[in-house]
């Protein structure tokens, strides 16, 4: 069991008295890209927030690289290389693109490779390089997502959590981001990718979790999975009920 990079086991979490996650268990193996989908409001974002330490689970444990990080501070979790790019992330509205990226290499571990990481981010997203001085709040939706992913890369990730990076983007931009995310994974960074678009996920990940009502309703391994169409039917079949 300890071969997993990330192991979130039997997590219960919610907001105040409202429970959202009920006994959810997911894992990510070394080098793996895992997809996560499911209807809106069923706890995907809540799970990522719990893993990255923004939310404390009422029950369950999170292990990263063999260490228990269940009650660790978010800043320490980032320091270990478990990096979370939030859904609809606004980042820092009054900061420029370059300043934000530089600041994102905040932890000593990230600082060491900051220069190379910055070049890599600009190579991956040339639009960010063109907008170095522009304030984050003046960026378009797609550019903001690029900045958000770029920030995550500046943190020297050993596992990347990407929460709906293409939410509300045009098909063309979506394609652009898909290519970038594929490149990031190919460079050796494991990831959890949350998306509504199952086909998008199938093209980028090895394994999928369908999250419903705060638990894993189904796990789909692409290697042993039925063809894409059947997965789609499965998804829309369960989501409709």
């Amino acid at each position: 069991m300890t071969t997993s990079l990330l192991e979130a086991s039997h997590i219960y979490a919610g907001y105040g008295e409202v429970p959202v996650l009920r006994d959810i268990t997911v894992h990510v193996g070394a080098g793996e890209a895992v997809g996560m989908f499911g209807p809106n409001g069923h706890g995907k974002t809540t799970l990522l927030r719990t893993i990255s330490g923004l939310l404390r689970p009422s029950n369950g444990t999170v292990h990263f690289d063999g260490d228990d990080v269940t009650i660790a501070k978010p800043s320490d979790i980032v320091g270990r290389g478990l990096v979370h790019a939030q859904q609809g992330n606004m980042l820092f509205g009054d900061m420029g693109v370059a300043e934000t990226l530089e600041l994102a290499a905040f932890k000593p571990r990230a600082r060491a490779g900051a220069k190379a990481a910055l070049e890599r981010v600009y190579a991956l997203f040339p639009r960010l390089a063109e907008r170095r001085k522009q304030l984050a709040r003046t960026l378009s939706g797609g550019e903001r997502q690029m900045l958000s992913i770029g920030c995550a890369l500046m943190c020297a990730p050993r596992l990347l959590l990407l929460d709906e990076p293409t939410l509300g983007l045009s098909p063309r931009l979506k394609e652009e981001l898909a290519v970038a995310i594929g490149e990031i994974h190919e460079s050796g960074i494991p990831l959890i990718l949350v998306e509504q678009d199952v086909e998008f996920l199938l093209s980028l990940t090895d394994r999928l979790y369908l999250v419903e009502h705060g638990e894993v309703a189904r796990e789909i391994d692409q290697a042993s999975a039925p063809d894409h169409q059947e997965i789609m039917d499965m998804y829309f079949g369960t989501a409709a009920t």
Binding site: S75, D94, A104
Partner: protein, 290 residues
């Protein structure tokens, strides 16, 4: 006639300098934590008293006194954040609750000062003795020094916030706490740093003011009110706007005193404040959507 004019301008610069120092501290806490610290004036008083004790009562000299005063104020600021602000973080009514808790801190500091230092008037010696003449108007060298120190401190603060990693991290926390935490910034530590730094600025203002005015438990009350006018004038959002507004208000006050006298000046200032709020709800230099 020109002498009066120059004297008034110098007096306006002096007031502006003091208000800018006060307001920049208030603005630092506001932009980082979203808390309006009503104890800011009392922290200034506290710093002045501690400086007096070390410099005069213990006879260790003004420099030691100034260091102690600034340090003590910073420490008190950190404690206020830890005990009276942090427990309510993320609370639905946080803004309202922290209005009450920082008001409580103000009362505790003020009454504490009354008990410890008593009501007898105290004063610090000036940093530099003697007078200087600026275009024929004679001012004390200490006041001239304040006019030089304040912009320098503000520049230093601006440099800290815009170029250093720690300064940038404070701005990041003020703009998006979750995102700040997710790039590895320790948010609670940033809060305590912002409060400590802001209180140190209050302490410094106290030390500077302590040799112009008498140090009493209510020394900080009037500067706090003025700093509030300044931050509302300038918009709480930015250091530059607060500093700019501080000098506008300082100059305005100096000329109002010259033309209308001390008696009417505060009322007119408040009237102007209300007018600004009616026509520019986000402050004189505030962004429309701030």
């Amino acid at each position: 006639m020109t002498e009066t004019l120059i004297a008034t301008i110098v007096s306006g610069l002096l007031l502006g300098s003091l208000y800018a120092l006060m307001a920049s501290g208030l603005s630092l806490v506001w932009t980082t934590l979203g808390v309006f610290n009503f104890a800011h004036g009392a922290l200034m008083t506290f710093g002045a008293f501690v400086a007096w004790t070390v410099a005069e009562a213990w006879g260790l000299g003004l420099l030691a006194g100034a260091v102690a005063g600034v340090g003590a104020a910073a420490l008190a600021g950190v404690l206020i954040e830890l005990l009276l602000v942090r427990p309510f973080y993320g609370h639905r009514n946080m803004l309202l609750i922290t209005v009450m808790t920082t008001l409580a801190a103000m009362i505790i500091l003020q009454n504490g000062a009354q008990v410890i230092w008593g009501a007898r008037l105290k004063q610090l010696p000036p940093i530099v003795e003697g007078n200087v003449s600026i275009f024929g108007a004679v001012v004390s060298a200490h006041e001239a020094l304040i006019i030089v120190i304040a912009p320098l401190v503000l520049l230093l603060l601006w440099w800290f916030a815009s170029t250093t990693r720690t300064g940038r991290s404070l701005r990041a926390v003020g703009q998006n706490q979750d995102s700040a935490a997710l790039i590895g910034i320790d948010v609670p530590r940033a809060f305590s740093l912002a409060f400590g730094l802001s209180a140190a600025l209050a302490g410094l203002t106290g030390v500077l003011l302590g040799s112009i005015r008498f140090i009493t438990p209510s020394l900080g009350a009037e500067p706090l009110v003025k700093a509030m006018i300044v931050v509302i004038f300038g918009g709480l959002g930015s250091l530059g706007a607060s500093a700019g507004a501080a000098f506008v208000i300082g100059m305005l006050e100096a000329f109002l005193v010259l033309w209308l006298g001390l008696y009417w000046t505060p009322s007119i200032l408040f009237l102007l404040l209300i007018l600004v709020l009616v026509f520019r709800p986000n402050g004189l230099f505030g962004r429309a959507n701030a």
